[in-house]
Each structure stands twice: as C-alpha cells, then as structure tokens.
C-alpha cells in the first residue's frame, strides 16, 4: 500500500512535469511559426507572451479582480491580514528547503523559528508573533535557488493565469511542489485543499495590489514592457536578497554624444 502511495506521488509529479513540457513544446511551436522582428531579439516568445497577457488581463477583469474587490468588501482588514499570515506560514517549508539548498543556514534557522513560533503561539499562523519579536520574514523559491546555482533565466515567458515568468522560474515552480509537504500527504480532499490554497492566495495577493496595479496600468506607456521589466528587476532583487551589485547597474553616460 505504501509503495502504491509513493507511486501516486511520483506519477503526479511526472504528470505535472509532462504538462509543463507539453506547454513548453506548444510555446516553441508558436514561436517557430511566428517570425520575431529584430525589435524583440531578447524576447523570443514575444508573440506567445503578448497573446497570453491579453488572455490573463481578460481573466483578471472577469474573475480575479472582481473576486479581489469582493474579498475586500466582505472581509475586514484584520481578517485579511490573518488569511495572509496563514498562507505565508504555510509557505515556510518551501522557503526553508530553498534556504538550505542555497546554503543560507542562518536564514533557514529564521524560517524554521518563524514556522515554529507562528504555528503554535501564533495560532496556526494567524498572527505573525515571530515578526513582532524581531524575526522578519523573507521568501525564497526554487527559481531563486537555481539562479544562485548559476543557472541562467532562459527566455521570458508569460504563463496562463500564473503570469510573468521565465524558463528557470517556471521550472522552479514545479520543483517547489517537491518541497511542499502537502504533495506527500495522503487524505481525501488534498487536491481540493491545494487548489483552494492556490485560489485564495491569488485573490489575497490581488487584493493587496488593487491600487498598485491600477496605478501602473494608468501610468504605463507600454504595459507589456512595463510588466516584463518589473518582473525581471524584482526577480534580480529577490535572488540577491536585496543586495546591490553596483557592477550590474547600467551606465548613464552610455549614449552621451
């Protein structure tokens, strides 16, 4: 029986990877069919990405944004903060795993301490007691881990529903499932819980960014480029844990006469 359960986990992982590969294959087919102009030389999946962005925006207008607004209208701020805290706390095993895989043991210790404190005194993660005691939260994911191992990002890709990504981060998304305890647990409704958590997390993040997204959309002169640039900058910042490498910064005198 046990081995059967192990097979299940394995076969599910294989299925996810296969789906991702199928998606990647589809992307390449689309990319191969479309000739990319020189203007998008650094963005080989430009046409696919643009199509998916349009789809994501439509899905946002029809489903995600109204859900986020409804969530704000119905649940008061302390409640929403609690939900955010619980979701953040549930993410701890994945963050811990990636802390360790990056050799950042001090940060791994902090993640572990936060998880221990918030899961108990913090009432299953509802309150961020650890933070109030000076143990600040940080995040890590397998995309960042791969980057610290020297793996390059690969092409930028807009994923349906999930949004901006690149080949490395999309791979990381799948690998993180391997660090997720729920992947290995066996009980009825496990899939529903995973799906529910994914949905609630999406709405919670969208609710927190209602104004920011609106402001960016309003002020942006090219939404596609704005999103791509912001994603790439945010990921670089996350990978370096907020530390600045001055050599990576652009030269301001580069195009002086």
């Amino acid at each position: 029986m046990e081995s059967l359960e192990g097979d299940n986990v394995e076969s599910q992982m294989v299925q996810i990877v296969l789906r991702l590969l199928a998606l990647t294959g589809a992307v390449f087919t689309v990319a191969a069919c479309s000739t990319n102009s020189a203007a998008h030389a650094d963005d080989p999946l430009y046409k696919w990405n643009k199509g998916v962005l349009a789809f994501n925006k439509a899905a946002d207008e029809v489903v995600v944004k109204p859900a986020a607004k409804g969530y704000r209208a119905v649940v008061p701020k302390p409640g929403r903060d609690g939900v955010r805290n619980v979701l953040d706390n549930l993410r701890s095993p994945v963050i811990f795993g990636n802390d360790v895989l990056q050799g950042k043991f001090g940060r791994a210790g902090k993640t572990l301490a936060r998880f221990g404190i918030n899961s108990t005194i913090g009432l299953a993660g509802l309150f961020d007691v650890a933070k109030r005691n000076g143990i600040e939260r940080h995040t890590e994911d397998a995309g960042q881990t791969l980057a610290t191992w020297g793996i390059s990002s690969g092409p930028y890709i807009m994923l349906p529903i999930l949004g901006p990504s690149n080949f490395r981060d999309a791979t990381g998304f799948v690998l993180d499932l391997g660090l997720e305890p729920l992947t290995y647990m066996r009980f009825d409704g496990r899939k529903a819980i995973l799906a529910g958590r994914f949905g609630v997390n999406g709405i919670s993040v969208r609710e927190a960014n209602l104004e920011t997204v609106e402001m960016l959309r309003e002020s942006s002169v090219n939404e596609y480029a704005s999103l791509k640039s912001a994603y790439e900058q945010l990921r670089a910042d996350a990978i370096s844990d907020g530390k600045i490498n001055v050599d990576d910064l652009p030269d301001f005198d580069e195009f002086e006469e």
Partner: protein, 206 residues
C-alpha cells in the same frame, strides 16, 4: 614621557581616522538632507495640493538631473537624434514623471529617512542605501539612490523602490515604444503627453 606622548598622539590619530571613516560620505549626506527636505514638503499641511505639487516639482528639478535621465530613458535611440526632439522629449518626460509622483503625494506624511550606507560604482557614481519608515508606512521601506557627483554638484539619477529602479523601468518602457515605432521619438512624446493628461485627471478626481 616622550614615549607616552607619542602613544597618545598615535591613539588620537587612529581615533580621528576611525571617526572620519564612519562619517557620512558626500553622497550619503546629500541623500539624508535632500530626502528630509522632500519629506518635509510632503508633510507640510500649510500647503494646498497645487502648492505642494509646485514645490515638489521645483525640488525634483534641483535634486535630480532630468536632462540626463531623459537621455538615458531614450537609450540607444538618443544617439544621433535631433537635439530639438530630445529637448522636447525631456520637457514632456519631466511633466509625465512629475505627474506620476504628484498623484501619490497625498500618500506620504510623517515618514523619516535613515541612510544606512553607500557603495561606489566608480568615481562620481555611487549608490546610497536608505530606509524610510514611520508615517503612513506599515513596513520600513528600503530605498536606494543612484547618485552622480561632478565638480561638487551632487544629483540623483535613479531611485530603487520595492526592488525596482525607476529610471531603468522607464527606459525599458520607452525603448519598447520606440522599437515599435522605428525609433521615432515623436511617437514617445505623443504617448507621454497622452498619459500625462490622464494622470492629472486621475489625481484631480481623488
């Protein structure tokens, strides 16, 4: 006695050097002073919205090198472009960028800034790190400043907030617009003007 005197002098000199090393650099001092001025303008209740925006705009013009930033934002398309077009773009870009920030002016009051250090990229080109906290902010906010110093004049070239360098972000957007329009700077000018009008409308509505 002479030995004691020498020891004392050496000790004094090394203490002095330590204190000099821990003193702020020119760039750090600039950020601390200028950012405090900006925060003071934002927190000044005696100014109405229009006056506040006016003061802030003057301040931005002094503290930042707008023409250089505008040129940077045009990227490779600035090279060999008509100087008149670049000048027009600079004006329009100044209006647009000010408009974006003015719409946010009401969101700040009572914050304090603390410079935490700096890194030199090359002579006259440094990044100053700071943390802004208090006031309307739930969480302390890390803000980094790209500072250029030439002949004693210190100015801001770029600011990193929430992990995003704003001028770099603008460049990625504007060069995308230019790439779609065969490098025609007039297309970017028209788009920025259009966005500026919308921005003002949005901020008046609030």
């Amino acid at each position: 006695m002479r030995f004691l005197k020498r020891t004392f002098l050496t000790l004094f000199a090394s203490l002095l050097m330590t204190s000099m090393a821990s003193a702020m650099t020119l760039e750090e001092e600039f950020v601390q002073t200028r950012a405090n001025e900006a925060l003071a303008i934002l927190a000044d209740d005696s100014l109405d919205k229009g006056a506040k925006a006016e003061r802030f705009r003057t301040f931005i013009d002094e503290a930042t090198d707008v023409p250089r930033i505008a040129r940077f934002v045009l990227g490779k398309y600035a090279r060999g472009a008509d100087p008149q077009k670049i000048s027009t773009f600079t004006d329009v870009f100044r209006n647009y960028a000010s408009g974006v920030y003015e719409a946010q002016l009401g969101n700040y009051a009572g914050e304090v800034i603390k410079v935490t250090g700096s890194q030199e990229r090359k002579p006259g080109d440094a990044v100053v790190m700071s943390v802004i906290s208090g006031g309307q902010l739930d969480e302390p906010l890390a803000v980094n400043w790209r500072i250029r110093t030439r002949e004693g004049k210190v100015q801001v070239l770029d600011v990193q907030v929430f992990g995003i360098w704003l001028a770099l972000q603008q460049r990625n957007e504007i060069t995308a617009v230019l790439a779609n329009n065969n490098g025609n700077i007039s297309a970017a000018i028209t788009l920025l003007e259009d966005k500026t009008v919308k921005g003002e409308y949005a901020s008046n509505e609030q």
